[in-house]
């Protein structure tokens, strides 16, 4: 690659006092190139990245500079965004031309979401759902600030498979919703039909459509519009995509119109993964891709997505036969999507605002206790864990900072210090710092 900035050299930029050392080029695309950089004299070696624009990109997008300055002023919606920190222009003495922006460097361990879609990633269903929760939550925070993103796709999302954490990059199209002068339209396959067909500009409501597509692709490893209608397309080029995602778009699981159902051979992924998820979550997709296809105000909202993802995580249950993660509805006991065996009614924890299935890995969060708490999976108060040497023993670990008082089935009292785990099979009830936890036996 021909790098726009010299690797290994220190450059002076207007806007920062110290010279910035260009460590190495990380990658390039149609807009510009990204470099790992460090501020000279920064003892802690803060990990920063610099995106430097190609002249073409700057010429095509006259509002880019103003938008970046606006985003820098408003600040990141939350830490899941690799948000612009400072706009950099080369100092008069510098050989570089154009401009760019400084942002946090993506840490090791995060990989492009396209690897997940391509089936190349080992990740648990729980962590995919967590990633979806974080993604919906990130857009919730972004939209609450009055902003819209405009160009969500697999290409600007990164995942940490071991945790389900996400990072959203390429935040340079973000603008105040409805005021946009920007030139970006989005990525075909993710664009809302009204944007793809040239009837509207990207906005918070077209974001909701793109978000639903991205969530669907993460949860199913399939595309929401590729079913029987795709099979009729021989050459999948631009005009074909306009029909498939715009003019004739039809959700593959549309409850009222089955013309575009997945083909068992060509679209096997969708048929295997869609039944994994509870009806409430499926319903949000049916809403966004059904009525919401042509009526933007009908699309599922970010808050509905986080709530549905959160509930799905709460009802996660491990199949005793095959060990697979399942998400059966509490009131309709079902069979395992993987092995077909009936799922027994599980042990549950009754919390003031929710029921959480007792399965290793499930977590208790503040919103389970407090009706006013914003749904968040950031700081769990407790976690269900298997005993390290006897996995059949399930316990509840206190992740809070205060000790909890428990009552055993025998009536005896027990104290659960922070970090400690209490065997559930002997437990009747716990009084946590956040509220009561009642063990419900089937």
């Amino acid at each position: 690659m021909n790098w726009l900035l010299p690797e290994g050299e220190s450059l002076l930029f207007d806007g920062i006092d110290q010279p910035l050392r260009i460590l190495r080029g990380l990658g390039g695309g149609t807009q510009g190139q990204v470099f790992a950089v460090e501020l000279a004299g920064s003892s802690r070696g803060e990990a920063l990245a610099l995106k430097w624009y190609l002249p073409n990109c700057i010429r095509r997008d006259p509002q880019l500079r103003a938008r970046l300055n606006q985003s820098i002023r408003l600040g990141a919606p939350n830490s899941d965004f690799l948000w612009p920190l400072a706009l950099l222009e080369p100092a008069a003495s510098s050989p570089a031309s154009g401009f760019g922006y400084l942002m946090p460097l993506r840490p090791e361990g995060f990989v492009g979401a396209h690897l997940h879609a391509g089936g190349e990633l080992e990740i648990s269903l729980q962590n995919v759902l967590k990633a979806c929760f974080h993604l919906a939550d990130g857009f919730h925070q972004l939209h609450l600030k009055g902003l819209c993103y405009k160009d969500i796709s697999l290409g600007n999302l990164f995942l940490e498979p071991a945790s389900g954490r996400i990072l959203i990059c390429d935040n340079d199209n973000v603008d105040i919703d409805g005021q946009g002068q920007g030139s970006v339209l989005g990525t075909p396959g993710f664009m809302a039909p009204e944007v793809l067909l040239g009837q509207a500009k990207p906005s918070a409501s077209s974001d909701l459509f793109s978000l639903a597509v991205l969530l669907f692709r993460l949860l199913t490893r399939h595309d929401p519009f590729r079913g029987q209608l795709e099979l009729a397309i021989r050459c999948l080029d631009e005009p074909a995509r306009r029909r498939l995602y715009g003019e004739e778009a039809l959700f593959i699981f549309d409850p009222l119109d089955s013309r575009n159902r997945p083909d068992p051979m060509e679209h096997a992924a969708a048929l295997i993964t869609w039944p994994i998820y509870p009806a409430a979550l499926q319903g949000l997709f049916e809403q966004s891709f059904g009525p919401g296809l042509r009526q933007p105000q009908q699309r599922s909202l970010t808050g509905q997505w986080t709530q549905a993802m959160g509930r799905c995580l709460d009802q996660r249950q491990l199949c005793p036969h095959c060990g697979q993660e399942t998400f059966p509805d509490a009131r309709a006991p079902r069979s395992c999507w993987n092995c077909g065996h009936a799922l027994p009614a599980p042990l549950r924890l009754q919390l003031p605002q929710a029921q959480v299935v007792a399965a290793a890995g499930n977590e208790l969060h503040p919103h389970h206790f407090d009706a006013l708490a914003v749904p968040s999976i950031e700081t769990p108060l407790g976690r269900l864990v298997a005993h390290p040497s006897d996995p059949s023993l399930l316990g509840l670990q206190n992740l809070s900072e205060s000790s909890w008082q428990g009552v055993l089935i025998s009536g005896a009292a027990v104290t659960l210090e922070p970090g400690k785990t209490c065997n559930l099979s002997a437990l009747q009830q716990l009084h946590s710092s956040a509220g009561p936890i009642q063990v419900l036996r089937p």
Partner: protein
């Protein structure tokens, strides 16, 4: 306890090099430069293929001199491709090469469903056989009409007119997309064009990139109709391909 072992269904993307191996390619190290350029471009091409879950990138190559023949006849996944050197010698049976490719773009052997194929024609001279018949034969096929067709002229002796006929007429509107033959006057430019064709163009043909509306467009606009695959910008360091290029240094 893992996400089921499934993946997005993908479509084949056939990428075919048509390489001029006439005797003149032996001069000034042009043949070696082309071999190097293709070999060097493979890791980047493999990376683009990996990033595009919707595509299965399959590479083939035709060599043409006294006659055309498959240099790499088996559609080969780019990740497994090891480039065998082409050798120069003979005349320029370019029309024959187009016939050969036409045979590959018929269904069958062409799959019923695919992404638009990418055809890259590289030449340093004039066809010595019936180019027009070969082109007509090729362009009768729907897959050839849908294909992204690129041409690279090596040096100043290449026949720009036939290369232009291969890629099709230049669209009237102004644009940065190279609807003219790319002129590689030296080994570095050649490598950059090959790199561009095998990464940026493959990316555009396999997975749609983010779209922007043209400058000065007031209302929200649909992607410009016309081309069935919008071509990406050329690398920033390259001159516009229509510009005259300096002295021939190989």
């Amino acid at each position: 306890m893992a996400f089921p072992n499934v993946r997005l269904s993908n479509r084949p993307l056939h990428f075919i090099y048509l390489c001029d191996c006439s005797g003149s390619m032996a001069a000034q190290g042009k043949m070696q430069a082309l071999n190097q350029a293709i070999r060097q471009s493979l890791p980047g091409m493999a990376e683009v293929a990996r990033q595009n879950p919707e595509a299965r990138v399959l590479v083939r190559a035709v060599r043409f001199a006294d006659k055309a023949e498959w240099h790499l006849g088996e559609p080969t996944p780019v990740q497994q491709l090891q480039w065998r050197d082409l050798e120069a010698g003979g005349i320029t049976a370019m029309g024959d090469a187009l016939d050969l490719v036409a045979g590959a773009l018929q269904s069958p052997p062409m799959e019923e469903r695919a992404l638009p194929p990418v055809l890259v024609l590289i030449s340093d001279g004039q066809p010595t056989d019936d180019f027009d018949a070969g082109l007509a034969n090729l362009m009768r096929l729907p897959w050839a009409q849908k294909a992204v067709r690129l041409a690279i002229a090596m040096g100043h002796d290449a026949d720009l007119e036939v290369l232009q006929q291969f890629i099709g007429p230049e669209p009237s509107g102004a644009g940065k997309s190279p609807r003219r033959p790319l002129q590689a006057s030296n080994a570095t430019t050649l490598a950059q064009y090959i790199q561009w064709a095998s990464t940026a163009v493959v990316g555009a043909a396999s997975m749609p990139a983010s779209r922007v509306s043209p400058v000065g467009e007031a209302s929200g606009a649909a992607p410009a109709p016309g081309s069935n695959i919008p071509l990406p910008d050329l690398p920033p360091t390259l001159l516009d391909p229509s510009d005259d290029v300096g002295p021939l240094v190989w």
